[in-house]
């Protein structure tokens, strides 16, 4: 019925999901790679380590290319808010837009600061260059803050009062710092640093498996992996806080994450499994009492079930299952990361050296991709779990969608898929070529060439 009323709803949701899912892949390295690069550069400067400087400079090239791609996909997103969800923007732009205004400023800062940092390699003395680089992490964090403030506002809208005439009044502070921001900000920020660490390290784990075991490889592996590993237990705790906050902030989302149908105490935790329309859970492993225990530290904790909400105010069956499975994938991969972390630190502390087990490096090589899958899963959990609301409790997705004909939005989807495939292909080709050339240079022992050569974007040499 909804689909008939709003013909563009389904394609609009797919377009938005596709482009967001693509953009979020660029976020971890976009925000966190500058920090890893600066750590490496600091090691290079203060320990007089030329190898560390070489690594830092190469990473900065990847950072720049990544930023260019992210700028494109981010610009697309800003237009999609207008093309696909004009009614939401018209109604709530004054509150929802606040975070994005800050993100706009941050985007600006990042663009200029990255240019300065890249130009500076050859034009500034080392310490001053490091200093200019220190502007990058705060700019990235400010951007993350802006986007997460906007997303948190969609999940737990606040700071808005509707006046008698229907006009909005906005309290900027409460609209920016909504309830969900506290956990969303820390959960996502830690996630992207962790992901960037594991991703970068995984490349050098592959190098180790292929037989490269020199100072370059050890350094480029150990620094990012240590960052990822140090954060993974913390992320586990913050994620736990976030999930428990949902029991009161967004009970429909929590019920979907746990595919809980009936409101009850002694609620089991279902691992895997699917729920059907009448609330039967099939497949999966059910651990008695565990959900109640985790949510309220007591088996008597009552968990609200999906059936306690009107059907048009909670995720439908498909959405609930998607939310639940994505949540489980995230938890599973997060737990795996913690185990790998324990392995790493036990060897590091007891033997005072990096692990030497092939299996450790095989897992470390997978940790990068695993972290990306976790980020995507977490995003699915929070976005699909919010359905059918675009602004939780205040506006439905179907009330926000464009009045454009469905055929237009489907066409847009096809065009965007083709373009994104092209961008991904160009981006990966470029990175692989850079990697191949750097490797050749290392083998030949020449460092005369600038690592930036052959990159379409970057400073003039």
């Amino acid at each position: 019925m909804l689909l008939q009323a709003e013909p563009a709803l389904l394609p609009s949701r797919i377009v938005m999901a596709f482009t967001l899912a693509a953009h979020i892949l660029l976020v971890p390295l976009g925000v966190a790679l500058p920090t890893l690069t600066l750590i490496m550069e600091a090691i290079g400067i203060f320990r007089k380590d030329a190898t560390a400087l070489k690594i830092a400079r190469r990473w900065s090239v990847v950072m720049a290319v990544q930023f260019a791609v992210g700028a494109v996909t981010g610009t697309i997103l800003s237009f999609e808010f207008g093309i696909l969800w004009p009614r939401m923007m018209g109604r709530f732009g004054a509150a929802f837009g606040l975070g994005f205004s800050i993100e706009g400023l941050a985007f600006f800062m990042e663009a200029v600061f990255i240019s300065i940092y890249l130009y500076g390699w050859k034009r500034l003395p080392p310490r001053l260059h490091l200093l200019t680089g220190l502007t990058l992490p705060p700019a990235g964090l400010l951007g993350a803050f802006g986007v997460l403030a906007a997303n948190s506002w969609m999940n737990t809208p606040g700071g808005v009062t509707i006046e008698p005439g229907g006009a909005l009044d906005v309290n900027v502070w409460s609209a920016l710092f909504t309830k969900a921001l506290t956990y969303e900000f820390w959960h996502f920020t830690i996630a992207i640093y962790m992901t960037a660490g594991f991703m970068v390290a995984s490349i050098y784990a592959v190098a180790w498996l292929r037989g490269r075991r020199d100072h370059y490889q050890r350094l480029a592996f150990a620094i990012p992996f240590s960052v990822g590993a140090a954060l993974s237990p913390l992320e586990f705790l913050v994620g736990d806080l976030a999930a428990r906050a949902l029991t009161s902030d967004q009970p429909t989302k929590f019920a979907a994450m746990e595919i809980t149908w009936r409101t009850q105490a002694y609620n089991p935790e279902v691992i895997g499994g699917l729920i059907d329309q009448s609330g039967n859970v099939r497949f999966g492993i059910s651990v008695p009492w565990l959900d109640s225990l985790l949510a309220g530290f007591s088996p008597t904790t009552v968990i609200r079930g999906l059936s306690s909400f009107a059907a048009d105010t909670r995720p439908n069956t498909v959405e609930s299952n998607l939310t639940h499975l994505a949540f489980d994938v995230m938890i599973g991969l997060g737990s795996a990361a913690v185990l790998l972390t324990v392995w790493y630190f036990v060897v590091l502390i007891r033997r005072r050296r990096l692990p030497e087990s092939v299996w450790f490096y095989r897992l470390a090589a997978l940790a990068g991709v695993g972290a990306y899958i976790s980020v995507e899963s977490g995003w699915v959990t929070t976005e699909v779990g919010r359905q059918p609301w675009i602004v939780y409790g205040a506006m439905r997705v179907s009330d926000a969608v464009t009045t454009a004909p469905a055929a237009f939005v489907w066409t847009m989807l096809v065009v965007l898929v083709v373009i994104y495939a092209l961008i991904a292909f160009f981006f990966l080709t470029l990175l692989l070529r850079l990697a191949a050339r750097w490797k050749r240079e290392d083998l030949a022992g020449t460092t005369a060439e600038s690592p930036e050569r052959g990159v379409p974007y970057g400073p003039r040499q």
Binding site: I76, K122, D169, F408, L430, Y457, P459
Partner: protein, 339 residues
């Protein structure tokens, strides 16, 4: 409601659009000349290399102005944003496709191996450099025509592709071609290539001529479609900017014609910026002519204050940073073990 604040933020929005038109215009213009250079001879190849060299440090950074405009629009004037996108989504979608293809294929021509791929990349890059500014400016023309509004019964395609949209689009293509050529003259001079200086100087003069013709045609179109706007352009403060465009464009062309290579770039930028600002003043106090004023569309005061603070930060943080960047760009490379 705070009227002065609403006008201030509307001014910020207008300046952001003007900044994108000028800074982005240089970039799009370079793409247009890349398309028109062809592949015939060595000169075309050298021109193309200069264009590549000139664009390399820019890397999609001009998108920041675009994103800033969009964000300020939806935060500070949500009803404007909603109406504009409901009425003009075809134009925005086309502009967006152009924008993305342009960026992607600019990158691709640096990794394309065989000449055939290279030509495809050049072609897509060039064509999208023409279409993107055309469709973006067409949205402004559609707004100025007074046809945009959520409750206007006219079909979307008629609103989007009205004579005034097309006229604005053509003016913007001519304007970007002009600023592109003008800045390439500067780049050619920096590379000390008299051949390319002449090459782009001729093209800049040609583009200035086309801009005058397109501008006149646009004025005639406005006269037929929305005479009130034309009257406003010559009676309100907009007049100052209209006169600025009419004086600065020939002035820049004159300098280039006489080969006086000073001030020509700044005059061109000022002319194109004035063009956008003139449009804004002519419409004031309306965001959507006859339908929605700045005060009616403005968000609550607290939201406007935050947007103003953000705009102030852009000025305070970004301007010194850009100055540093220009300084670094012109500073010679330091000796270092990295080479």
């Amino acid at each position: 409601m705070n009227a002065p604040l609403a006008y201030l933020v509307a001014g910020v929005l207008l300046l952001a659009v003007a900044a994108y038109s000028t800074a982005g215009g240089v970039d799009f213009g370079a793409g247009i000349w890349d398309l028109l250079a062809g592949h015939r001879d060595g000169q075309a190849r050298r021109a193309r290399e200069l264009i590549d060299h000139a664009m390399a440090p820019v890397w999609e950074v001009n998108n920041v102005w675009l994103v800033l405009s969009i964000v300020v629009c939806w935060t500070a004037f949500p009803p404007l944003f909603e109406s504009v996108f409901v009425s003009l989504y075809p134009l925005f979608a086309l502009a967006l496709v152009g924008l993305v293809l342009r960026g992607a294929f600019f990158a691709f021509r640096h990794i394309a191996d065989d000449p055939r791929q290279h030509r495809i990349a050049d072609m897509v890059f060039g064509v999208s450099s023409v279409l993107t500014p055309f469709f973006f400016a067409a949205t402004l023309g559609a707004i100025a025509s007074g046809r945009v509004g959520t409750y206007v019964p006219e079909p979307v395609w008629q609103v989007s592709f009205s004579p005034m949209s097309m006229a604005f689009g053509l003016v913007s293509v001519a304007a970007t071609a002009l600023s592109g050529a003008v800045f390439l003259v500067g780049d050619a001079r920096r590379q000390e290539s008299p051949e390319l200086v002449e090459y782009f100087r001729t093209r800049a003069l040609l583009a200035a001529g086309i801009l005058v013709v397109a501008g006149t045609a646009a004025l005639i179109t406005i006269w037929f479609e929305r005479p009130q706007l034309l009257v406003a352009m010559f009676t309100t403060p907009a007049l100052a900017f209209v006169l600025a465009v009419m004086a600065l464009t020939p002035a820049a062309a004159f300098l280039l014609w006489r080969r006086i290579f000073r001030w020509y770039r700044i005059l061109t930028v000022a002319a194109i910026g004035s063009l956008v600002v003139a449009w804004g003043f002519a419409q004031s106090p309306y965001l959507l002519p006859g339908l929605l004023t700045i005060e009616q569309a403005a968000s609550p005061e607290s939201t406007l204050i935050l947007v103003t603070v953000v705009a102030a930060c852009v000025v305070l943080i970004i301007c010194p940073s850009i100055a540093l960047l220009v300084y670094l760009d012109q500073r010679s490379v330091l000796e270092s073990p990295e080479g």
